[in-house]
Amino acid sequence: MSDSHDSRPGLELEWAATVQQTMDRMMRRVTGEYHEDEYGFDEEFAEAVFPIWEFLYRRWWRVQVEGVANVPAHGRALLVANHSGAIFPFDAVMIGTAIQKEHPLPRWARALVLNWAFDLPFVSYFMRRIGGVAANPANLGRLLGQDEPVMVFPEGAKGFGKPFAERYRVQRFGRGGFVEVALETGSPIVPVAVVGAEEIYPKLGESGLLAKVSGAPYVPLTPTFPLLGPLGLLPLPSRWRIEFLEPIDLSGYGPGASEDRSLVFDISEQVRETVQEALFRGLVKRGAAFL
């Protein structure tokens, strides 16, 4: 055994250094000597949970990505995607993971999260630490003004909680508020089509009683949830495909254009159709949902 010791003299030292580093890191967490930004995003925390997302991305959902270079490497950008998931917004997490893993100049993208998530214990601060921000125009405008990439899901709860039978039918895009802010801040809109997230929790119905008790807007019933309890929260291993589409440049309209209601609705509808068409194309390209 002494041979191998001689050939790698630094091994013990290296091991000691790893222990030292881990201890240092734990000590920093315990004493509060870490950074969090003004929205409560904690990059160290986001990095610590990243291996979970990586596993889901590579092995569980075998995510295929197309057009990730359409996400600008610098400056503000508004990523507009279809929404689904019914229980947890894994689509947002996977879009973020795709940018981290595939983009030549990866950035942490923020996500606007449904407001009631911030009223749920644990979920509220978990979301915030990995880059979630309450969904309102003020937050979106401020983040874009600071040249951040931001994900929005204009379908909101209508898309998130739609039944399995309506999968991949993009719902109404709210009141077009995201377009108003994009026009005001001159941010390019990058439509994103996520295929696969609809199958992870096939929502068959809703439980009005559980919703009332928990205070959530709805509680989904899936083949496994709440039948199998916490085990039912395990997402099904569908095959995913995320497509980042050509950015839509809005800088030509000028900041005053956000007052123009019909223009706002036109652009909103244009983005919705772009995402819908990409979804149908993506479904064909993906093929079977689970194999």
Partner: protein
């Protein structure tokens, strides 16, 4: 710099009133300072003229005009409802007192500016709130607590007054939670508990305004008042969990159902005073205010950001923190004490 002239400080015996009087007495633009309160200030304020009067009493509208102030600063609003001084009792001081004072200001000839030291509590704390409230968002959400409605009401009177008197520059300052060594408010008493109760599963984003900046911004607004509401808040925000870690505090998480009752019980048991409904919501959802108006229009640049104020507070308090101070700073402290 323009001449500020003669300043009347209402509520001069409060901590912030006395601090303002001291700061202004060094300002060459201030030709005279009159302090008004129900009891004389606890410390010697030099050549500050003291007048004993109660703003809850209509006599104030005879007293104030006789003093001939150019600027009136209202420091008499109590920003924290707490045990033994509940929001119901504050109504008299905060709302009725302000109403009387505004009536008195109407009688003052040649009044140039009115500065009110108000509260950011008007924004409340909500799960879906903007990360940083700007001044125009004050009534966008319903005012849920009694104290919040009080602040809303007194701001309403203030706005009416400002509209009827365009010749007077009326400034409403909305202060975030102040911290500082030697300062006393329910939030600081909460932080000083041996074991700090927090709400299970919630970790609010807070803004801590350093005492230096709380005083500096008030003095800056007195010399350079602007029209309308201005948030007095530091840059950035800090989460409660990180604040407690920086302070080296042990915390115990309690299910939200019990949090309200428990903080009240623990508070009164230890004689530290409990924070009421506003405090419970603040410690659940937090609150952030945008400070661009303060920096750009009043021209006051805060010396500490939220993290800097937390670190300064932690360094100056006694206790476990010194034992756990790490030699590895995890993030740069952007702002340093002057």
């Amino acid at each position: 710099m323009a001449q500020t002239g003669r300043v009347a400080i209402v509520g001069v015996s409060t901590h912030w009133g006395s601090e303002l009087a001291r700061t202004l007495s060094r300002d060459p633009g201030v030709t005279g300072i009159v302090g008004i309160d129900t009891a004389p200030p606890g410390s010697d304020l030099g050549d500050v003229e003291f007048v004993e009067a109660d703003i809850r009493n209509p006599v104030i509208s005879k007293v104030l005009p006789a003093l001939e102030p150019d600027v009136v600063v209202h420091c008499g609003i109590i920003l924290y409802p707490e045990e033994g001084r509940p929001s119901r009792a504050l109504h008299d001081i905060n709302v009725i007192g302000t109403l009387q004072l505004l009536a008195a200001c109407e009688k003052v000839e040649g009044l140039r500016a009115l500065v009110v030291r108000g509260a950011a509590a008007i924004y409340g704390s909500a799960p879906g709130a903007p990360a940083f409230y700007t001044e125009d968002m004050a009534r966008r959400f319903p005012l849920v607590t009694r104290f919040q409605r009080d602040v809303g009401e007194l701001e309403g009177y203030f706005e009416n007054f400002a509209r009827r008197h365009p010749e007077i520059v009326c400034t409403m300052l909305r202060f975030q939670t102040e911290v500082g060594a030697g300062l006393d408010n329910p939030f600081i008493r909460y932080l000083s508990l041996p074991v700090v109760p927090t709400q299970l599963g919630f970790d609010p984003r807070l803004q801590l305004l350093h005492a230096v900046d709380a005083n500096g911004a008030l003095a800056a607004a007195t010399s350079n008042p602007v029209r309308g509401a201005v948030n007095v808040a530091p840059d950035g925000a800090i989460s409660l969990s990180r604040l407690l870690k920086l302070c080296g505090k042990f915390s115990v998480s309690m299910p939200p159902v019990f949090a309200g009752a428990m903080t009240r019980r623990v508070g009164s048991l230890l004689g530290t005073g409990a924070m009421q409904e506003d405090g419970r919501l603040l410690l659940r959802y937090g609150r952030g205010c945008d400070n661009r108006r303060m920096r750009e229009e009043i021209g006051y640049e805060p010396a500490f950001d939220s993290e800097g104020a937390a670190r300064d507070f932690a360094a100056k308090q006694h206790g476990m923190s010194a034992l756990f101070r790490s030699p590895h700073p995890g993030s740069p402290v952007r702002t340093l004490p002057r």
